[in-house]
């Protein structure tokens, strides 16, 4: 909003110099105050997470204090040790990694092919089928929980990893994202590959797919995160949390059993958030780009 006033400043620069000096000062101070407020908002916004982090190192007796303190009398690493001893969070991470990686791989493969089919290939009924794909985005996962569970019962997948992986790998989001990308690739590239004698499959695998790597990365990040954070479906389909649980499931169970041991619960929360936070810091550009081009990645 401030942008515009500064842009026209050159036009009015000369008369401004002769004006009252006070006005000039406010023009400088105002943005500074605004910036300070923005920083304060960001800090307030982060305070739950800061508090979580601080509490995870406090001795149990010092958690609820008035006024709240950032640090306890000692720095208790032991909380993490105890939390990890009480529940196999490292196994949950391993499970989450396995499920998320497998699900992401499946998503990438089917989406790359369908995204290409919906953009660079012409076939009868293409647009109609794509509309159906898009329409499925309106169907909330939560509505599908019960029938999906019954279907898993029928094929004997209840309490298995494949039940966590397979059903959610076919979101139309991937097709949509890759279609957008492929539509932007110049037709000359297809033609050139074709003139060089490459068939459809070869053109796709050797020319198009390598070009799509950045978009595939975006899709991979989103897919991975939505698998990793998924909660309701694992809650329904996994009974054996200790062996097959993922992070959200494990944390929920931990909270159910140790809900009043806040120092341990907060340590467990930090452990649960750490991998996604790391991912966010490392891949922020991909994430921002993904949201910007699609508007709904991972939701």
């Amino acid at each position: 909003m401030l942008e515009t006033t500064s842009r026209i400043r050159p036009l009015t620069a000369r008369p401004r110099g002769s004006r009252a000096p006070g006005r000039r000062r406010t023009a400088k101070i105002r943005p500074a105050i605004g910036y300070a407020i923005l920083c304060l908002i960001a800090l307030l916004f982060l305070s739950p997470l800061i508090y979580m982090f601080a509490t995870s190192f406090k001795p149990p007796a010092e958690i609820f204090s008035v006024p709240p303190k950032l640090f306890g009398s000692e720095f208790r690493w032991q909380n993490y040790h105890e939390a990890l001893n009480y529940m196999p969070f490292l196994r949950f991470m391993g499970n989450g990694l396995l499920v998320s990686a497998a699900g992401t791989a499946l998503t990438l493969v089917v989406s790359a092919f369908s995204g290409y089919a919906f953009s660079r290939q012409r076939w009868r009924g293409r647009n109609l089928v794509f509309m159906v794909f898009l329409a499925t985005l309106m169907i909330p996962q939560e509505v599908l929980i019960v029938p999906m569970f019954v279907m898993m019962q029928k094929v004997g997948w209840v309490n298995t990893f494949q039940a966590l992986i397979v059903p959610w790998a076919f979101t139309a989001f991937g097709a949509f994202l890759l279609r957008q990308f492929f539509l932007g690739v110049p037709q000359e590239l297809d033609d050139a590959a074709r003139v060089d004698g490459a068939g459809t499959l070869r053109t796709f695998l050797l020319v198009m797919l390598p070009l799509a790597r950045p978009t595939m990365a975006v899709l991979a990040v989103f897919s991975f995160i939505s698998y990793w954070n998924s909660f309701l479906w694992p809650l329904v389909v996994i009974n054996d949390v200790n062996n097959l649980g993922t992070i959200p499931l494990g944390l929920q169970m931990f909270f159910g059993q140790q809900g009043n041991q806040w120092h341990l619960v907060m340590a467990a929360s930090v452990i649960s958030m750490a991998p996604t936070l790391l991912l966010l810091i490392l891949l922020q550009k991909h994430l921002v780009k993904g949201i910007v081009t699609s508007g709904f990645g991972g939701r």
């Binding site: 508090y51 619960v265 508007g295």
Partner: protein, 323 residues
């Protein structure tokens, strides 16, 4: 570069003899022939994804409708009920309350989410130093596990917790028991959800605002419009497709609120914060009545479809696609 890879592949005879320039002028007939050949590949490429969607999204919708017509225990044999489950839902005061709660959540959450995300997106212009860092900060809870977020807020809301402790030490008044008081519980869930959820919309709106052509806003500024007018009259109009899209996605997802009430309040006190999805989960997987749960899910589905349809019909009035 990767582009050169196909050239390394052995060329079939004949291909090399066509000079590139000539291939272009030969053009149409040949391209048509190629497109003709593609008709087989297109459906083949789309097949795995399409099949997966059919099995894991379209089929469950139909199965859900079938299940909802049965008394369907978690284990054991189902028996046909007809519309019995729906009748039961419509006469069940708890289900009525659950629907009202969900609508209340949506009505409070969606506007708050949009105002906060739009406000911050407008604030974080490219001129703001460290804008990128702010964006990432506000996005953090959108990406950390919902369960972890909720657990942390459970502690903030606790009597004696962070909020209560801060209030006591600064003003001497203790905070209400947010999660135990039915006047506060829903608001507490809404606030937590906005904190967690506005990051997506903020990024979408922020990108849309960046795309507003500068010559338009500059022209308006020279004509004497102030920043406020420019924002409301020009920018907001130009980014209305993004706002429409964000509103729709936020609406759809907010009707599915589950983890927040599940962990913060278990739907209580009483059933003042129980939502439709929480009801579906409880009926289906706590009380083992999959038929009833399915019927509730279908009602949710119809509500969401209805709201989406209304949005689409209403968009003509305020969404401007021609920039």
């Amino acid at each position: 570069m990767t582009l050169l890879k196909p050239a390394k592949a052995p060329l079939p005879e004949g291909a090399a003899t066509i000079p590139p320039g000539k291939a272009k002028t030969k053009g149409k007939a040949e391209r048509d022939a190629q497109l003709g050949r593609r008709t087989m590949w297109g459906p083949a490429f789309a097949l795995p994804h399409g099949l997966g969607l059919a099995i894991f999204t379209l089929l469950p919708i139909v199965v859900s409708l079938i299940i909802s017509l049965f008394r369907w225990p978690l284990l054991g044999t189902p028996s046909f009920l007809g519309l019995g489950n729906y009748q039961r839902l419509f006469s069940d005061p708890i289900f009525g309350q659950v629907v009202v709660n969900t609508v209340l959540f949506v009505v409070l959450y969606v506007p708050l989410n949009l105002v906060v995300s739009l406000g911050l997106a407008a604030w974080l212009t490219p001129r703001i130093k460290g804008r990128h860092i702010f964006r990432v900060i506000f996005f953090i809870p959108s990406i950390t596990p919902v369960v972890a977020n909720v657990v942390v807020w459970r502690m903030l809301y606790q009597p004696g917790g962070f909020i209560d402790g801060t209030l006591q030490s600064t003003t001497g008044i203790s905070a209400p028991n947010f999660l135990g008081d039915e006047h506060w519980a829903m608001m507490a869930i809404v606030v937590m959800s906005v904190w967690q959820g506005f990051g997506y919309n903020m990024l979408v709106f922020s990108a849309a605002l960046d795309a507003v052509p500068e010559n338009l806003t500059e022209a308006a500024a020279i004509d004497g419009a102030n920043a406020w007018t420019i924002f409301w009259r020009i920018k907001l109009k130009l980014i209305s497709p993004s706002i429409f899209f964000g509103t729709m996605m936020t609406l759809i997802t907010s009707f599915q609120v589950f983890a927040q009430p599940f962990i913060l309040t278990k739907g209580g006190p009483g059933s003042s914060t129980s939502t439709i999805v929480l009801y579906i989960y409880n009926q289906g997987f706590q009380f083992h009545q999959l038929g009833l749960a399915s019927a509730a899910a279908w009602i949710l589905f119809v509500i969401i479809l209805g709201v989406t349809a209304v949005q689409f019909l209403g968009q003509k009035k305020w969404v401007h696609y021609d920039a």
